[in-house]
Symmetry: C2
Subunit: 218 residues, 2 copies
DNA sequence: GATGCTATTGAGTGTGCGACCAACAAGCAA
DNA sequence: TTGCTTGTTGGTCGCACACTCAATAGCATC
């Protein structure tokens, strides 16, 4: 009698169902873009009916903002964790910059580009983007300050230095949907590295030569 | 008998009608975004029927790409004209950087952000963005080379220097839809200036102090 | 002023979207 | 086992979109 397709209702607690919806939405956001988050799409993803998504998120815009925030939260913890464990600020920064130039970072770049554009039309998302911007900047700023205190970095204004690094990262991220970066000179790819070295008073090559073998085996 | 609303047909030559459509679309693109370019929207703008837009642009995507290209073409001529007339490369560059930090540049920043994100989904647009990217880079590169030849600028690699300036401009442009740049330190706003001065071997302050009174009265 | 070319209209098709809500049933508590 | 709370369904509504095409009418030409 039961066909091969499962249509039995599964009843979950509001908290876990909600988390499940946000998780599914953030996967879609990273892989296909924030505008692909629709009631029907997420419902299909979870094999439930669209009305259920509406029940948890009466306005889709709130789900979009939540999905973005969730993805961005996960990424900051992956790329720039607050606890740098036993690595030095230099090592930690080098690791961050290495990850941000890898292929895997393209999805994140796309997400940021997506969110920054879409926040033009969606206030809830704009709010979330602002929060994330602060979180990333504060995280980097804290690292820079530690480096300065430990004598590894040298800068007059840690905040300005942090923002300078982020601006260059953003500028390169703008190109993520373009037709290959490979025709650009190699100096451009290394721009975040050289920028960080310059604004933090590090000798040229310090960050790219720094070995970070604490995680993420290559 | 004729009501106050004009519904009389006006028959135009294909060339001028097409140009009119592209012009209307590029106005909408600049003011409201590329996704607001729809058959109905542009038709309303010109007081014609949607079918007419379809007649000239069987696929809307092509109109979007055209509208973006048209707007970007107009902007490059305004901001970075090929003929710098009697101004020196330094003056010309200073003028460019001054214009790109003005309020009026926000619409252009938004358009670029918009186009770069949207080209993720629209191949025709992606193509146009690549063309525009080349045009802007080549324009700036030519200026840098002239400056080097005339002994005003000093750089080992004019191409890398040009791209570095563009990357910083793009990076700041990413923030255009955010909640006010005013809480950032003033050094950030001046980043394109200081970057250009640094990569072109100009004394600090050269570009901001350079008086460019040839046009655009403030 | 009549004619013919074609720019333009008007009407319609199908798709996908967010939102709404009465009815249903899962699974906990009594 | 029974009952009840509430998570979930299924169906629907209205809207906006791109795209199609036969019919219409502006206007240049003769």
């Amino acid at each position: 009698m039961p066909s091969s397709i499962e249509n039995k209702r599964i009843r979950k607690s509001p908290a876990s169902r909600r988390a499940e919806i946000v998780a599914a939405a953030s996967v879609v956001a990273l892989a296909e873009g924030l505008e692909r988050i629709t009631l029907r799409r997420i419902a299909d993803e979870l094999s439930v009916r669209p009305g259920l998504i509406s029940h948890y998120f009466p306005a889709v815009e709130d789900l979009v903002a939540e999905a973005y925030g969730s993805a961005a939260d996960a990424e900051i913890e992956e790329l720039l964790p607050a606890d740098r464990a036993d690595s030095t600020p230099t090592e930690h920064l080098a690791r961050f910059l290495r990850l941000t130039t890898g292929e895997a970072y393209d999805d994140i770049s796309r997400l940021w580009l997506n969110a920054r554009h879409l926040s033009r039309y969606r206030p809830a998302l704009r709010e979330r983007v602002a929060e994330q911007e602060n979180a990333w900047r504060d995280r980097l700023l804290a690292l820079v300050r530690e480096g300065v205190e430990l004598g590894e970095f040298r800068t007059e204004d840690p905040l300005v230095s942090s923002i300078q690094i982020m601006v260059v990262l953003d500028g390169l991220g703008m190109l993520v949907n373009g037709t290959s970066l490979d025709n650009d000179p190699p100096e451009i790819r290394r721009l975040p590295l050289t920028t960080a070295e310059r604004v933090l008073g590090l000798p040229f090559g310090t960050l790219s030569d720094t070995n970070t073998n604490t995680d993420t085996a290559d």
